[in-house]
Symmetry: C2
Subunit: 292 residues, 2 copies
Amino acid sequence: MSVAPKRPKGPPLNAMRAFEAAARHVSFVAAAEELNVTPGAISQHVKALEGWAGTPLFRRNAQGVELTREGQLLIADFNEAFDRLADAARALRNLQPKAEFHIAALPAVAQLWLPKRLRRIRAQLPNINFSVTALETPPSLSRELFDLSIFFALPDGSPNQIVVCEDEITPVCAPTVLLRAQRPNGFQDVPLLHDQTWKGDWPKWLQSNGFHMRDENSGPQFSLYSLAVEEAKAGAGILMGHLCLIEDDIASGSLTAVNTQSCPTGLSLVIQLPRQSRRRPETDRVVSLLSS
Amino acid sequence: MSVAPKRPKGPPLNAMRAFEAAARHVSFVAAAEELNVTPGAISQHVKALEGWAGTPLFRRNAQGVELTREGQLLIADFNEAFDRLADAARALRNLQPKAEFHIAALPAVAQLWLPKRLRRIRAQLPNINFSVTALETPPSLSRELFDLSIFFALPDGSPNQIVVCEDEITPVCAPTVLLRAQRPNGFQDVPLLHDQTWKGDWPKWLQSNGFHMRDENSGPQFSLYSLAVEEAKAGAGILMGHLCLIEDDIASGSLTAVNTQSCPTGLSLVIQLPRQSRRRPETDRVVSLLSS
DNA sequence: TTTCTTGGCGTAGAAAAACTATGGCTAGTA
DNA sequence: TACTAGCCATAGTTTTTCTACGCCAAGAAA
């Protein structure tokens, strides 16, 4: 008779977390990004968990993973559990006497929109330590420890969202380039500046205004919108300007609209909050200062 | 402006688990036992968590810990979260094709009561791998991965409990000792055998039968009841017998009751199951074989 | 008193886990 | 025929976690 000397060991917690993230994103890479590790680590964790369970949880295809039937069965439970755990962690963190306030934002927003407002807020709330994390995609506020996020998104009318402004685009350039740009063939002659994460901007604007262009994708590419803005200010070409991000540059005259036709992208700049019960007490204060 | 390069890191999962266990038991030692580590490890985890949170969660007194107000606030959340997680882990394990069936039992039960039945069960269910863990105190079935536990307890009428029999005690001894034991002063002359975890047995029985003894605690002590039973069978003295554990020895005549006065301890031998939805499919089968 | 027991702390070193870096593979895409 | 996106596997390193052990304080027992 085999008397096990030890209590049966549960699966490793970290492996479960990795599985949960991978299942939620249906991607090891995305999970790795969320957990701030390499995809290899996720792979190992998932494998460990599959080993523990004795059954595969993912089907690995060359172009991505998908959950097996077994995996499907589990994901709801794990989601729920880690949601609760995230709640608990948030509660834990919220009793920290010295407040840390975490903001997630699109890189462009973090660099162009936030700084001015954050300076003001810091002046008003000197006891809070703000930190800003630039992310390409909005994090899950119920899972990660951000106190608010600012991204371009489709408002869904939830009370946890505050719409700051509609996203509107129009071509802009430095005043020194304006005359050239406004000539009949301006868009052909002056380089168009592109942001890699907003590849669709030029086509969208051109189409919405009935223009056609041979080569709407030509011109320098920038990995950060703020770089493109700097180049535009330096006179390097015409940039598709997101009005809410460059309002100061327009006001100060370092950028001017090439013409008056602007076009809404359909998205809005949206401040997203965790649900009421999990917010830091300072949140409302910060939001009202941010959006004023 | 401080742009944090990384997403805010949540607290370490293992530290949270350690805290949860420590908070639930209000004891580092008990938590350590549950998690199969040394108390030092728990201490470190809790300290790490307190460091992360920036606030103490436990008040350490020389004779044990107690939760601070902050700790009190958190325990419910953490309990909930880890319950869910345990559920998920159980679900995960339950899809293992090759079944492992974990039983927790009091050492005495594991050694004296289980083996016979388990042999029968193994014969009936040859594909299941049974493992038995001997524990002094019943584990939480909603938290640990046991499929059932067998302990002496007060039945609470829940449908997750099956009462096997009432616990009844009466002095027993080897036939060779019987005559000496039954003499008027038998209990004085023949050594009384004691089990350390059931110190109260002799006093209880004596009292319930109106006897008084100068020295009811004298005699050899055993750390395991099964050792005491062996000694009794070898003629070393009179043992307070728990009838349901020694029925075979009585039936075979290797032990006999000194007199016929038995006394219920108020407890019963109880099979405890996890709640319905978390059970292994084989559970009902095992239970019916166990209690038949 | 003094001594023992219980339950906590702290630290050093050992053991285990987790992570990264790298190269390789496959299937869609250009 | 490349090229890209995603996943895998492995080796080696870094980090975490655990144990072992000595210490201390408070209450219980002698």
